[in-house]
Protein backbone atom coordinates (compact mmCIF):
# COMPACT_ATOMS: atom_id res chain seq x y z
CA UNK A 1 0.00 0.00 0.00
CA UNK A 2 1.53 3.23 -1.07
CA UNK A 3 1.34 6.25 1.19
CA UNK A 4 0.79 8.71 -1.68
CA UNK A 5 -2.90 9.29 -2.42
CA UNK A 6 -3.80 9.04 -6.12
CA UNK A 7 -5.57 12.40 -5.92
CA UNK A 8 -2.31 14.16 -5.01
CA UNK A 9 -0.44 12.63 -7.97
CA UNK A 10 -3.21 13.61 -10.37
CA UNK A 11 -3.43 17.13 -8.93
CA UNK A 12 0.31 17.60 -9.38
CA UNK A 13 0.03 16.36 -12.98
CA UNK A 14 -2.92 18.70 -13.63
CA UNK A 15 -0.94 21.62 -12.18
CA UNK A 16 2.06 20.85 -14.41
CA UNK A 17 -0.21 20.45 -17.45
CA UNK A 18 -1.87 23.81 -16.78
CA UNK A 19 1.53 25.47 -16.32
CA UNK A 20 2.58 24.09 -19.70
CA UNK A 21 -0.67 25.40 -21.21
CA UNK A 22 0.03 28.85 -19.72
CA UNK A 23 3.45 28.74 -21.36
CA UNK A 24 2.08 27.81 -24.78
CA UNK A 25 -0.66 30.45 -24.64
CA UNK A 26 1.22 33.40 -23.10
CA UNK A 27 4.88 33.17 -24.09
CA UNK A 28 5.74 34.46 -27.54
CA UNK A 29 9.17 32.86 -28.03
CA UNK A 30 8.85 29.76 -30.23
CA UNK A 31 11.60 27.92 -28.33
CA UNK A 32 9.90 28.45 -24.96
CA UNK A 33 6.54 27.45 -26.45
CA UNK A 34 8.08 24.16 -27.61
CA UNK A 35 9.53 23.62 -24.13
CA UNK A 36 6.06 24.20 -22.64
CA UNK A 37 4.68 21.47 -24.92
CA UNK A 38 7.33 19.15 -23.45
CA UNK A 39 6.11 20.07 -19.94
CA UNK A 40 2.53 19.17 -20.94
CA UNK A 41 3.66 15.79 -22.32
CA UNK A 42 5.54 15.13 -19.08
CA UNK A 43 2.44 15.91 -17.03
CA UNK A 44 0.53 13.28 -19.04
CA UNK A 45 3.36 10.81 -18.41
CA UNK A 46 3.07 11.47 -14.68
CA UNK A 47 -0.66 10.69 -14.85
CA UNK A 48 0.05 7.41 -16.68
CA UNK A 49 2.73 6.41 -14.16
CA UNK A 50 0.43 7.27 -11.25
CA UNK A 51 -2.46 5.18 -12.59
CA UNK A 52 -0.04 2.34 -13.43
CA UNK A 53 1.24 2.35 -9.85
CA UNK A 54 -2.27 2.22 -8.46
CA UNK A 55 -3.47 -0.65 -10.65
CA UNK A 56 -0.06 -2.39 -11.03
CA UNK A 57 -0.45 -2.20 -14.81
CA UNK A 58 2.74 -2.20 -16.84
CA UNK A 59 0.81 -0.99 -19.91
CA UNK A 60 0.95 2.57 -18.60
CA UNK A 61 4.73 2.48 -18.52
CA UNK A 62 4.91 1.26 -22.12
CA UNK A 63 2.52 4.03 -23.16
CA UNK A 64 4.65 6.62 -21.34
CA UNK A 65 7.69 5.23 -23.16
CA UNK A 66 5.90 5.78 -26.48
CA UNK A 67 5.05 9.34 -25.44
CA UNK A 68 8.75 9.99 -24.71
CA UNK A 69 9.64 8.67 -28.20
CA UNK A 70 6.98 10.84 -29.87
CA UNK A 71 8.18 13.86 -27.85
CA UNK A 72 11.71 13.28 -29.13
CA UNK A 73 10.45 13.16 -32.73
CA UNK A 74 8.33 16.28 -32.17
CA UNK A 75 11.25 18.21 -30.66
CA UNK A 76 13.56 17.26 -33.56
CA UNK A 77 11.10 18.37 -36.26
CA UNK A 78 9.96 21.44 -34.30
CA UNK A 79 13.50 22.68 -33.75
CA UNK A 80 14.38 22.08 -37.40
CA UNK A 81 11.38 24.25 -38.31
CA UNK A 82 12.52 26.96 -35.87
CA UNK A 83 15.98 26.93 -37.47
CA UNK A 84 14.53 27.09 -40.96
CA UNK A 85 12.19 29.98 -40.03
CA UNK A 86 15.05 31.80 -38.30
CA UNK A 87 17.12 31.66 -41.51
CA UNK A 88 14.22 33.19 -43.40
CA UNK A 89 13.04 35.90 -40.96
CA UNK A 90 15.84 36.30 -38.36
CA UNK A 91 13.39 35.97 -35.46
CA UNK A 92 12.25 33.45 -32.86
CA UNK A 93 9.12 35.42 -31.89
CA UNK A 94 5.84 34.29 -33.39
CA UNK A 95 4.53 37.87 -33.44
CA UNK A 96 6.87 38.48 -36.39
CA UNK A 97 5.59 35.49 -38.35
CA UNK A 98 2.51 37.02 -40.00
CA UNK A 99 3.18 36.42 -43.66
CA UNK A 100 -0.35 35.10 -44.19
CA UNK A 101 -1.99 38.01 -42.35
CA UNK A 102 -1.09 40.72 -44.87
Amino acid sequence: MTAIPLGHILTLAALLFSLGLVGVLTRRNVLIMLMSVEVMLNAVNLTLVGFSRYNAWTEGHVLAFFIIAVAAAEAAVGLALVLSVFRLKQTTYIDDLRLLKR
Binding site: T2, A3, L6, V49, R53, T58
Partner: protein, 206 residues
Protein backbone atom coordinates in the same frame (compact mmCIF):
# COMPACT_ATOMS: atom_id res chain seq x y z
CA UNK B 1 3.98 11.98 7.98
CA UNK B 2 5.48 9.00 6.13
CA UNK B 3 8.79 9.50 4.31
CA UNK B 4 7.25 8.53 0.97
CA UNK B 5 4.65 11.30 1.15
CA UNK B 6 7.25 13.82 2.35
CA UNK B 7 9.50 12.96 -0.61
CA UNK B 8 6.53 13.24 -2.96
CA UNK B 9 5.73 16.75 -1.75
CA UNK B 10 9.39 17.84 -1.95
CA UNK B 11 9.88 16.50 -5.49
CA UNK B 12 6.49 17.80 -6.63
CA UNK B 13 7.18 21.28 -5.23
CA UNK B 14 10.57 21.26 -6.96
CA UNK B 15 9.04 20.28 -10.30
CA UNK B 16 6.27 22.89 -10.08
CA UNK B 17 8.60 25.67 -8.90
CA UNK B 18 11.22 25.08 -11.60
CA UNK B 19 8.52 24.89 -14.29
CA UNK B 20 6.91 28.10 -13.00
CA UNK B 21 10.33 29.81 -12.93
CA UNK B 22 10.81 28.74 -16.55
CA UNK B 23 7.54 30.42 -17.55
CA UNK B 24 7.97 33.62 -15.54
CA UNK B 25 9.10 36.54 -17.71
CA UNK B 26 11.79 37.45 -15.14
CA UNK B 27 13.68 34.18 -14.58
CA UNK B 28 12.85 32.45 -17.86
CA UNK B 29 13.13 35.40 -20.23
CA UNK B 30 16.08 34.15 -22.23
CA UNK B 31 15.60 30.73 -23.88
CA UNK B 32 18.81 29.31 -22.41
CA UNK B 33 17.70 30.04 -18.82
CA UNK B 34 14.33 28.50 -19.57
CA UNK B 35 16.01 25.39 -21.01
CA UNK B 36 18.24 24.94 -17.95
CA UNK B 37 15.26 25.36 -15.58
CA UNK B 38 13.35 22.80 -17.62
CA UNK B 39 16.22 20.31 -17.20
CA UNK B 40 15.97 20.79 -13.41
CA UNK B 41 12.22 20.17 -13.63
CA UNK B 42 12.82 16.94 -15.61
CA UNK B 43 15.20 15.67 -12.91
CA UNK B 44 12.51 16.26 -10.26
CA UNK B 45 10.02 14.35 -12.44
CA UNK B 46 12.51 11.48 -12.78
CA UNK B 47 12.60 11.35 -8.98
CA UNK B 48 8.80 11.23 -8.89
CA UNK B 49 8.76 8.31 -11.36
CA UNK B 50 11.27 6.43 -9.18
CA UNK B 51 9.05 7.12 -6.17
CA UNK B 52 6.09 5.59 -8.03
CA UNK B 53 8.24 2.47 -8.75
CA UNK B 54 8.66 3.20 -12.46
CA UNK B 55 12.35 2.26 -12.52
CA UNK B 56 12.80 2.14 -16.30
CA UNK B 57 10.89 5.36 -16.97
CA UNK B 58 12.83 7.24 -14.31
CA UNK B 59 16.11 6.37 -16.05
CA UNK B 60 14.64 7.04 -19.51
CA UNK B 61 13.42 10.43 -18.33
CA UNK B 62 17.00 11.40 -17.47
CA UNK B 63 18.63 9.83 -20.54
CA UNK B 64 16.09 10.82 -23.19
CA UNK B 65 14.47 14.00 -21.82
CA UNK B 66 17.14 15.70 -19.71
CA UNK B 67 19.84 14.22 -21.91
CA UNK B 68 18.90 13.99 -25.56
CA UNK B 69 15.93 16.34 -26.03
CA UNK B 70 17.21 19.19 -23.86
CA UNK B 71 20.70 18.92 -25.40
CA UNK B 72 18.97 19.34 -28.77
CA UNK B 73 17.20 22.45 -27.43
CA UNK B 74 20.36 24.01 -25.99
CA UNK B 75 22.25 23.15 -29.17
CA UNK B 76 19.65 24.93 -31.32
CA UNK B 77 19.68 27.96 -28.99
CA UNK B 78 23.47 28.04 -29.36
CA UNK B 79 23.18 27.67 -33.13
CA UNK B 80 20.73 30.61 -33.38
CA UNK B 81 23.35 32.76 -31.61
CA UNK B 82 20.86 35.32 -30.27
CA UNK B 83 22.33 38.51 -28.87
CA UNK B 84 20.91 39.78 -25.55
CA UNK B 85 19.20 42.74 -27.22
CA UNK B 86 17.25 40.35 -29.45
CA UNK B 87 15.42 39.06 -26.37
CA UNK B 88 12.35 41.18 -25.86
CA UNK B 89 10.63 42.52 -22.78
CA UNK B 90 7.36 40.65 -22.43
CA UNK B 91 4.25 42.79 -22.62
CA UNK B 92 0.81 42.12 -21.31
CA UNK B 93 -1.97 41.91 -23.87
CA UNK B 94 -5.62 40.88 -23.86
CA UNK B 95 -4.75 37.72 -25.81
CA UNK B 96 -2.32 36.65 -23.08
CA UNK B 97 -4.83 37.34 -20.31
CA UNK B 98 -7.34 35.26 -22.25
CA UNK B 99 -4.70 32.50 -22.53
CA UNK B 100 -4.17 32.55 -18.76
CA UNK B 101 -7.94 32.39 -18.24
CA UNK B 102 -8.24 29.40 -20.56
CA UNK B 103 -5.44 27.59 -18.69
CA UNK B 104 -7.13 28.34 -15.35
CA UNK B 105 -10.44 27.02 -16.73
CA UNK B 106 -8.74 23.80 -17.92
CA UNK B 107 -7.11 23.39 -14.49
CA UNK B 108 -10.49 23.75 -12.81
CA UNK B 109 -12.04 21.18 -15.13
CA UNK B 110 -9.15 18.76 -14.49
CA UNK B 111 -9.52 19.14 -10.71
CA UNK B 112 -13.21 18.45 -11.09
CA UNK B 113 -12.45 15.19 -12.91
CA UNK B 114 -9.75 14.19 -10.41
CA UNK B 115 -12.24 14.35 -7.57
CA UNK B 116 -14.26 11.60 -9.26
CA UNK B 117 -11.26 9.44 -10.23
CA UNK B 118 -9.43 9.61 -6.93
CA UNK B 119 -12.35 8.89 -4.64
CA UNK B 120 -12.57 5.25 -5.82
CA UNK B 121 -8.80 4.64 -5.93
CA UNK B 122 -7.22 1.89 -3.87
CA UNK B 123 -3.57 1.06 -4.54
CA UNK B 124 -2.64 -2.52 -5.45
CA UNK B 125 -0.15 -4.05 -3.03
CA UNK B 126 3.19 -4.41 -4.83
CA UNK B 127 4.77 -6.79 -2.30
CA UNK B 128 3.68 -9.85 -4.35
CA UNK B 129 4.56 -8.07 -7.57
CA UNK B 130 8.16 -6.99 -7.00
CA UNK B 131 9.20 -6.86 -10.69
CA UNK B 132 6.72 -4.04 -11.36
CA UNK B 133 8.21 -1.27 -13.53
CA UNK B 134 11.59 -2.96 -13.92
CA UNK B 135 13.43 -3.12 -17.24
CA UNK B 136 12.64 -6.84 -17.49
CA UNK B 137 8.89 -6.54 -17.09
CA UNK B 138 8.37 -3.38 -19.17
CA UNK B 139 10.72 -4.73 -21.87
CA UNK B 140 8.86 -8.02 -21.96
CA UNK B 141 5.54 -6.25 -22.49
CA UNK B 142 7.10 -3.94 -25.08
CA UNK B 143 8.30 -6.90 -27.16
CA UNK B 144 5.15 -9.01 -26.81
CA UNK B 145 1.86 -7.11 -26.49
CA UNK B 146 3.16 -3.84 -27.95
CA UNK B 147 5.39 -5.33 -30.63
CA UNK B 148 3.77 -3.59 -33.64
CA UNK B 149 3.49 -0.11 -32.06
CA UNK B 150 7.09 -0.43 -30.87
CA UNK B 151 8.30 -1.09 -34.41
CA UNK B 152 6.11 1.73 -35.73
CA UNK B 153 7.72 4.12 -33.22
CA UNK B 154 11.12 3.23 -34.67
CA UNK B 155 9.81 4.13 -38.15
CA UNK B 156 8.41 7.39 -36.72
CA UNK B 157 11.80 8.28 -35.23
CA UNK B 158 13.52 7.54 -38.53
CA UNK B 159 11.05 9.73 -40.44
CA UNK B 160 11.47 12.52 -37.87
CA UNK B 161 15.26 12.35 -38.11
CA UNK B 162 15.21 12.48 -41.92
CA UNK B 163 12.59 15.25 -41.83
CA UNK B 164 14.64 17.30 -39.37
CA UNK B 165 17.74 17.00 -41.57
CA UNK B 166 15.80 18.05 -44.68
CA UNK B 167 14.00 20.95 -42.93
CA UNK B 168 17.18 22.33 -41.36
CA UNK B 169 19.13 22.13 -44.62
CA UNK B 170 20.77 25.39 -45.60
CA UNK B 171 19.66 25.55 -49.24
CA UNK B 172 16.06 24.48 -49.39
CA UNK B 173 15.28 24.88 -53.10
CA UNK B 174 12.10 26.91 -52.57
CA UNK B 175 13.53 29.16 -49.84
CA UNK B 176 16.89 30.27 -51.07
CA UNK B 177 16.84 29.98 -54.81
CA UNK B 178 13.98 30.94 -57.13
CA UNK B 179 13.28 28.19 -59.63
CA UNK B 180 14.70 29.37 -62.98
CA UNK B 181 12.29 29.58 -65.86
CA UNK B 182 13.00 27.28 -68.85
CA UNK B 183 14.21 30.21 -70.96
CA UNK B 184 16.73 31.31 -68.31
CA UNK B 185 17.93 27.78 -67.90
CA UNK B 186 18.56 27.60 -71.61
CA UNK B 187 20.50 30.87 -71.54
CA UNK B 188 22.74 29.65 -68.70
CA UNK B 189 23.53 26.49 -70.60
CA UNK B 190 24.46 28.54 -73.68
CA UNK B 191 27.20 30.48 -71.81
CA UNK B 192 30.80 29.41 -71.48
CA UNK B 193 31.14 26.57 -68.96
CA UNK B 194 32.92 28.55 -66.19
CA UNK B 195 30.61 31.60 -66.37
CA UNK B 196 27.50 29.49 -66.56
CA UNK B 197 28.34 27.48 -63.48
CA UNK B 198 29.22 30.56 -61.47
CA UNK B 199 25.94 32.22 -62.46
CA UNK B 200 23.96 29.10 -61.56
CA UNK B 201 25.79 28.66 -58.26
CA UNK B 202 25.16 32.22 -57.08
CA UNK B 203 21.88 32.65 -58.93
CA UNK B 204 19.38 33.45 -56.19
CA UNK B 205 21.82 34.31 -53.44
CA UNK B 206 21.26 37.62 -51.71
Amino acid sequence: MPTELLLFYALGAGAVLSTAAMLLPTTGRSPIHAALLLIVSFFFLAGLYALLSAHLLSILQIIVYAGAIMVLFTFVIMLLNLSPDEIREPKISYAKMLGGGVALFVFGKLLNGIGLAASAAKAVDLTQHDTFGTVKEVGHMMYSTFMVPFELVSVLLLVAAVGAVVLAKKNLAYVDRPVPSPAEEFKTEGHAAGDGEAAAGHGGHH
